[in-house]
């Protein structure tokens, strides 16, 4: 199946602009009259709903931050009476309160629509067996994909996350064709598969939709090679709707944003200016169909850029590049912004497979020190100290030329860096500031 909803996915630009404008104007009115937090912010800027007439007026509106959702915990940002809310999800906050999101019946319908489009991008159809290994529960990953898959009419295997041995057994026995999980968990499964003696030929997997964390092209190559599948990057965040905000198609050249529901902008996170098309910056979303929790210019903290030309697949929607990092996962070492994904690219350029790695930041005296721990692979190993020291030096030099700061590289034994079945922990910051 090529498209789920060709009328929306391949809409011409004028028609899209007309629909977006109409929906934006309506959304701004709704939040102004129903959500005190939005009204106060707009009044502080001296803006009224009537000032928003075109898409270009979007930049006049104030930003919304995760902190706004926390300040209005739990339901203060909802734009409908609570009796209209039929589902509540929450994202675990590592700092402070959880971020609570509410869906009306229409929101759930929209969510199923956009995740159905996402799944169709990976070739999911009625005959597919989809194993959903994202967590079910308050996290939006599991249930979000679930409803999209049901809408398509695929056979849903709602296994949720964890218990890798059982995942692999079911994948093999139930004939799973589509796998949905985080990319790091997909790699973890591939490792466990090799240990369990299961070959990719024993499986029926065709494609995987992987998201919820940043991953590199090299990591994609490795997943595709080891599982023998098409690996598709998907993007979503619970505040905006959950999975289903954007998805790659089979051409893997950027993630199609479901623009008839979510308007993207790229801004400079420091100056908050809107950046010209193609610039790298922070992704900002405005939802234009959501009822329960509409968001105006929501700061995602994700770093990416937008692609405006039309994709080979025929979809006309604007695409976002793979997320290359987060403004808040970013660590600042000696004044330099460092994203773990930069280290990953360096390591993957050196060998044929992805070694596991971890960044350890510490402060010695007044100086920040970066140590990069890299697990020894067969590929890097040698019986001669000189060769291993050369590899170490190569990694150190590549990091230095990529980041502009020096780092200590420490090679460690395989599997000595902690693996998680969810998101990989790439940074340990021991600085006490």
């Amino acid at each position: 199946m090529e498209y789920w909803n060709p009328a929306c996915e391949c809409m011409d630009r004028d028609e899209m602009t007309r629909i977006q404008t109409e929906r934006l104007i309506e959304t701004v009115k709704r939040v102004y009259f129903n959500v005190p937090s939005y009204r106060n912010k707009m009044q502080q800027k001296g803006i009224e709903p009537g000032d928003i007439k075109t898409l270009d007026d979007l930049k006049k509106l104030p930003f919304t931050y995760k902190q706004d959702l926390r300040d209005n915990y739990p339901y203060g940002m909802f734009a409908v009476p609570l009796s209209e809310i039929v589902r509540i999800h929450a994202s675990s906050g590592t700092t402070g309160k959880q971020t609570v999101v509410g869906y009306t019946r229409k929101d759930l319908d929209t969510w199923a629509e956009v995740t159905a489009r996402t799944l169709a991008c990976a070739g999911t159809d009625k005959s597919s067996f989809i194993q959903i290994a994202y967590g079910y529960g308050l996290f939006t990953g599991g249930l979000g994909i679930h409803y999209g898959a049901e809408r398509i009419g695929a056979s849903v295997i709602p296994i949720s996350g964890g218990n890798t041995k059982r995942q692999l057994q079911i994948m093999k026995d139930f004939g799973t064709t589509i796998l949905a999980c985080t990319p790091s968990y997909a790699l973890y499964m591939a490792e466990e598969m090799e240990e369990a003696g299961i070959k990719k030929e024993d499986l029926h997997l065709k494609a995987g939709i992987f998201g919820a964390e940043p991953w590199s092209e090299q990591m994609r190559d490795e997943i595709e090679r080891r599982l023998g599948i098409l690996a598709i990057d998907i993007y979503g965040l619970s505040e905006v709707i959950g999975p289903g905000v954007a998805s790659e198609c089979k051409y893997k050249c950027g993630l199609h944003i479901h623009e008839d529901h979510f308007i993207p902008e790229i801004i400079n996170p420091e100056t908050e200016e809107v950046l010209p098309p193609g610039s790298l910056g922070e992704l900002v979303f405005t939802t234009i169909t959501k009822e329960g929790l509409p968001l105006i210019r929501y700061r995602t903290r994700d770093i990416t850029s937008l692609i405006y030309d039309i994709c080979k697949c025929g979809r006309t929607s604007v695409r976002m590049n793979k997320v290359s990092g987060r403004t808040d996962d970013m660590i600042i070492i000696r004044g330099v912004n460092v994203f773990p994904s930069q280290i990953e690219s360096v390591l993957l350029d050196l060998g044929e497979t992805a070694p596991h790695y971890q960044l350890i930041v510490d402060r010695v005296g007044k100086l920040d020190m970066l140590e990069v721990r890299v697990e020894m692979t067969q590929y890097m190993f040698s019986d001669q100290v000189r060769n291993i020291e050369n590899t170490e030096k190569k990694i150190r030099n590549a990091i230095e030329s990529t980041l502009g700061i020096s780092a200590k590289v420490k090679l460690v034994e395989p599997k000595s860096i902690e693996r998680s079945e969810g998101k990989a922990k790439r940074v340990v910051d021991n600085r006490k500031i």
Binding site: M376, Q378, F381, S382, Q384, L411, P414
Partner: protein, 142 residues
């Protein structure tokens, strides 16, 4: 030539013990070993009686392991015995990467493991100079 296995070790206590325990539990006998170490890591090099099985069991235990072909030679166990063999290599411009001795020995010969840059040439020259180069089978029987 003789197959040597190398194991990557972090400089942490208990790692070497773990390797020897794994080999011991699988009835693998160590006949020579050496460690090259730096501040952060070490490379353990081993000659064992069943190198293929040793690689398997160590990899299962999570170690990074590599196999390398090395030379095993027997020199007379007397002052200057080793020097004779090394002089032959030097005269023929064969570089030695590393060298270590066997745990045991046979009769009045000392056994030495050599990693050189041109192993085939080294075997030929050592042979011509009447220095005994041991075969895999000879070593495993020790």
């Amino acid at each position: 030539m003789v197959k040597q296995i190398s194991v990557f070790l972090e400089n942490k206590s208990g790692r070497l013990a773990n390797v020897t325990r794994t080999l011991g539990m699988n009835n693998i006998d160590i006949s020579a070993l050496s460690i090259a170490d730096t501040t952060d890591f070490g490379i353990l090099r081993l000659i064992v009686n069943d190198p293929d099985k040793a690689v398997d069991v160590l990899e299962q235990e999570g170690f990074t392991v590599a196999g390398t072909d090395v030379l095993a030679i027997a020199v007379e166990d007397k002052p200057g015995g080793l020097s004779e063999a090394l002089t032959v290599l030097e005269n023929n411009s064969i570089g030695i990467e590393y060298i270590y001795a066997f745990v045991g020995k046979c009769s009045n010969e000392a056994l030495v493991i050599l990693r050189v840059d041109e192993p085939h040439k080294a075997i030929e020259i050592l042979g011509k100079n009447n220095i005994k180069v041991l075969e895999q089978e000879d070593v495993y029987k020790l």
